[in-house]
């Protein structure tokens, strides 16, 4: 008689990371994000910290952990811009929550799913940043540039796929 497992999908696929990895990966992403556009201005279109938020959220599958990770990384990014604290914090916090929620429902190891996740979350972040700037900050000069945002989403996806495979090596099953 075959043995049936009663463990949930969440329990099976929940991954953890060494604290050093949890700390260093976002810091390295933020560092590259601020240094690379100085030499290659076109790379400013990328958002490496967003990729880190998506990766950690879908791997951990914990909505609270995803929200906190996204918020902290976003607030750190805000500290380096001239925006008020909270613009990226809110956007990335929401994305961390949704990414962790989606992690339960879809197979995040699948390449197609990973492409779709990164592309859609990049677009979602652009929309959230637009709403925050327009409604919360009341800035009427902010505009949503659809073509630019599509290029940004595609660029982020292209960078995210190899980055995900690289970061997969650091995860440990909990």
């Amino acid at each position: 008689m075959a043995e049936h497992s009663y463990t949930s999908r969440r329990e099976l696929d929940q991954y953890g990371f060494h604290p050093a990895v949890t700390l260093l990966v976002p810091v390295v992403c933020i560092l590259l994000q601020v240094v690379l556009p100085k030499t290659f201005p076109r790379l400013a279109v990328l958002d490496l910290p967003l990729i880190a938020v998506i990766f950690f959220s879908v791997a951990r599958r914990s909505q609270i952990a995803g929200t906190v990770t996204g918020t902290l990384i976003g607030l750190f990014q805000d500290g380096l811009t001239n925006h008020p604290f909270g613009v990226n914090g809110i956007a990335k916090g929401i994305i961390g929550y949704i990414a962790a929620s989606i992690g339960f429902a879809v197979d995040v190891e699948n390449l197609v799913n990973r492409i779709a996740l990164n592309f859609c979350f990049s677009l979602l972040q652009s929309g959230l940043l637009y709403l925050i700037a327009r409604w919360l900050l009341g800035d009427p000069t902010v505009r949503l540039l659809p073509v630019h945002e599509l290029i940004r989403a595609a660029s982020n996806t292209v960078v995210a796929i190899p980055m995900f495979y690289m970061l997969d090596r650091f995860r440990t099953r909990e």
């Binding site: 560092l31 607030l75 929401i94 902010v142 540039l145």
Partner: protein, 384 residues
Amino acid sequence: MDSFFVRFKNPLVLIAIVLAQTIGLAIQVQPSRTSNGPTGPDGKKTSLLRYWTVAVVTPFERVIHGSSLNVRHLWSSYIDLRHAREQSQAAQLEIARLRLEQASFAEDAAQGRRLQALLAFKQQYITSTVAAQVIGTSGADHSGLLYLDKGLDEGLKPGQAVITPDGVVGKLRDVFPHTAQLLLLNDPTSGAGVLLESTRIRGILRGTATGSVQINNLTPDSRIKPGEKVFTSGGDLVYPRGLPVGVIESIAPDPLHQPYTAIVVHPAANLLRLEEVLIITGTSSTMPAAAQQDAAIAGAAAEENKRAADLIAEKLPSLKKEDTDNAKPGDTPKPPDQIGGVPGVPNSGLPRPQPTLHPDRYSPGTTPSAEDLKPGAPATPPQP
């Protein structure tokens, strides 16, 4: 009640975090609008948070910048020396050309300064600058912010203008002990008072969300054309007057602010590839000593050039006529084909008639005077 919190723990945490940040946003935005405006530096508490963030990142930025600088220096100084001789010769020729150009402008500049002194015109001269290197960016493409390797310890303050030899690039925002934030002209929160070169129209330059630089407070004017140069007006009390800002690229109606036009300006300095900048730390109404010395040298060179030109003109063959050469001092030379007129006033006399080719009784000079004529006598025919 407990079951509600346990059941909706995750969304409640999200709502709480988002709400806290929204309140934080409201607190930060409100004072900045009432005091310094959105371009002003942060409040004390926010500045402290930003300072911590910057303090974490900038040491790494400095290390990365320093090592890349060393590699580049090694490459450019010891390896990539092709065409160095040609470049040196070209630079020498350029220096010679610029010296001549400087001498020709010296007289105009001196005249301009005399007129400014007569009109009690307040001119601002740059007396001191601090050179700084760009070590990093903000990492967001909708934020025109750069990080410099100099700060409070080098005498920098928020609001100081930042330039390059090509033109204005922006001003300092928050200044930390060893680092400063440079707010570029193309940031949406940036602004500068500008003056159009030929039309002398004043406007306000602003950055946009797309990263371009625009003047959008002017109504349509047919005199404003693409290609016109834009300079700082000095009216904003940040940028000294007369610094190059850029060139007008295009003019189109602004759909968001009718009836104003959106005048897109191409910045004189390349804002995307800034390596080294100069921060203006001091201005004065009098010309600095070094500049005065340069002006004196240029003036002397201009005078020498003028004297050389006069000497050459004296040696050249004269085009003057003998009549004019023999004229006494005080005599006004009179053109040969002119009669009467006011002495000293050119072209005031009547033109002298040309000599007659086939004279008849109507030709001037053939008719005898009235004293020689007798009543009833026939008129004498003209003598051939």
